[in-house]
Symmetry: C2
Subunit: 356 residues, 2 copies
């Protein structure tokens, strides 16, 4: 299974990570919405959700563990601002997108058996699988409540956008789980185009929704909100490429995961698939390693070198650059004010340069 889009959301607040005014602002604005939504849950369930969000320790005492970088709400608020709307107009959308993001993290961690996230044991590891299932369910429902609570002229369109994104997320995770059961080589191996389809559904769709829902709530007509959606989708795909690179070569002190974590779990991420597709001597040696039943630390380190030698890292970096360029190009036709364009540019640089 590939990295979820979220290993990026690691680390105590600000530690080892670049800071960006737009994401800091988004977090400040969105957190009260999230807290008010979670407060409506049965207290035991609310504690589990609050643990995942970094607000509480496992025993319910307050924590400052950090709840991610708020890239998606930032994108929502930026899209609304680009339409000349106040942040308040898009805040329900920003909170809903962040709730859906966390819903998918909580359930993906159960499905993938991932034990660590944001430097802490995952929700299911701490509270058990049944509570993690319920917590994810509740996060999905709270997203719709949050949108519906602040009803306005664009709520129905925003709700449609969010619900279709949820189906796409389920498609992405289904494909990702199916990839895990397929071989590394031969006619049944996962191809790069198949990987791209999975990544678009699993990572592109939610950043696309974040941008589109912001434009919708900001009053954009459909042609404009869809352009924002396409831009966000490219950003999401670039985000996933950077994630895949971090999953292999990231610093474990920053990622909160073991070194070479994607390699240890044999996740079929883009650097591997591109390296194997290169059909070079390094590709063939790599395929041998990946098909072995167990790899010691020396073999793991060698495999990471081989992915790089076979061009897997370079390919993934270029793919990220391509999506970042395309993402910005999608906004060319929407007549973005220069200040808004600069904000998007800053977010793109932030996404491209992150290391955790």
């Amino acid at each position: 299974m590939s990295a979820t889009p979220a290993p990026s959301d690691t680390g105590p607040r600000g530690e080892g990570a670049a800071r960006l005014a737009a994401t800091e602002r988004a977090r400040t604005l969105v957190e009260p919405e999230l807290r008010s939504a979670v407060a409506s849950l049965e207290p035991g369930l609310g504690r589990a959700v609050g643990y995942h969000l970094g607000w509480y320790e496992a025993d319910g005492s307050p924590a400052e563990a950090g709840s991610g970088k708020s890239v998606r709400p930032a994108l929502t608020l930026m899209a609304a601002a680009a339409m000349g709307a106040e942040p308040r107009a898009a805040l329900p959308g920003a909170a809903a997108v962040e709730l859906v993001h966390n819903f998918s993290l909580v359930h993906d961690d159960v499905m993938d058996g991932d034990a660590y996230r944001r430097h802490r044991p995952t929700l299911w590891k701490t509270f058990g699988v049944p509570t993690a299932i319920l917590a994810g369910d509740a996060l999905q429902s709270l997203a719709f409540i949050t949108l519906a609570r602040h009803e306005g002229p664009h709520t129905a369109r925003a709700t449609r956008c969010l619900s279709h994104t949820l189906i796409e997320l389920a498609t992405g995770q289904t494909l990702d789980m199916a990839f895990a059961r397929r071989p590394w080589r031969g006619p049944k191996a996962v191809t790069v185009p198949e990987y791209r389809r999975m990544a678009e559904a699993k990572s592109g769709s939610l950043l696309g929704c974040a941008a589109e829902i912001g434009a919708i709530l900001g009053g954009a007509p459909a042609t404009i909100s869809r352009a924002f959606g396409r831009a966000g989708r490219h950003l999401g795909l670039a985000f996933q490429c950077v994630d895949d690179i971090i999953g292999l070569w990231g610093d474990p002190r920053r990622t909160g995961k073991p070194v070479l974590s994607d390699l240890r779990e044999r996740k079929k991420t883009l650097p591997f698939l591109a390296a194997l597709a290169a059909r070079s001597p390094a590709s063939r040696e790599l395929a041998g390693h990946l098909s072995a039943s167990a790899l010691d630390d020396a073999a793991l380190a060698r495999a990471a070198v081989l992915v790089e030698e076979a061009g897997g890292r370079r390919f993934t970096e270029r793919e990220a650059e391509h999506h970042l360029t395309r993402g910005l190009a999608c906004l060319d036709g929407v007549g973005l004010p220069e200040a808004a364009r600069a904000e998007f540019r800053a977010l793109i640089d932030f996404l491209a340069e992150r290391t955790s």
Copy 2:
């Protein structure tokens, strides 16, 4: 853990169960909506969802396994009809409620470790826990898509009703799971009032939503739609009482579950809690049985007799009657046409007399 509201939804179509024109009609109307919703899923995921709904066998071949009695959609359509609306107006609500019902069944079966439903292995038993989590997630999302797809003047209110119900369902399941960890006797034992709160959240809320959303989409003002919601809530509570009786004394050929299934799983259902609260000699003997680490078939049979002797069955039957009477009384103030009242009466009789 208590029976989910669904053991009722057992049995191939019509087999061993009373038939009711309103539920048959609801199924016929709603099934195309459900099929169209499920068709939008990734094919592998759609097959798993379709298996749960009784449309396919595990291998994807067509099945006629039955997908429940459609009590909830029938209630939605009846409420809309009582407001003078065409079934078409409430159909998205009826389908959404049925999707949410199935979402909760699929996830509850994972959480409760239940292996059988509707005479077949459960979704997670057949396709694995990760696919069952995703299938449930998708069913929840499809409910919102179905509501949003047919946007009308009442969609936002209906969406709010549905999303709040989902939070209540999560509360109910959280409480139910917490009950399983508590002792049968002593100061920490589960009380009848606590049980009622759980049952209202877990079973009352969705039948309440089914009735309320039908009234909303039928154009009812808030005072009227809330009366329908309260009526449905009482029906749901009665439904749970009947379920609890079936879970102990139901015919396994009809329920599709082992004989004395709730007793085998030591579910804290109302007949037990009422019997234990009676403080009679039978109560004390029952408490001893329930606290034993393992029960053979003779002890199980004896425990069921003791529940009856201590008045647990009679108490639960009276509780069901009380809710059915109260449910109908909630509709007294809404000026229901006589034909509509007769339909509700028939549904109530159907619920009270079911045996599976």
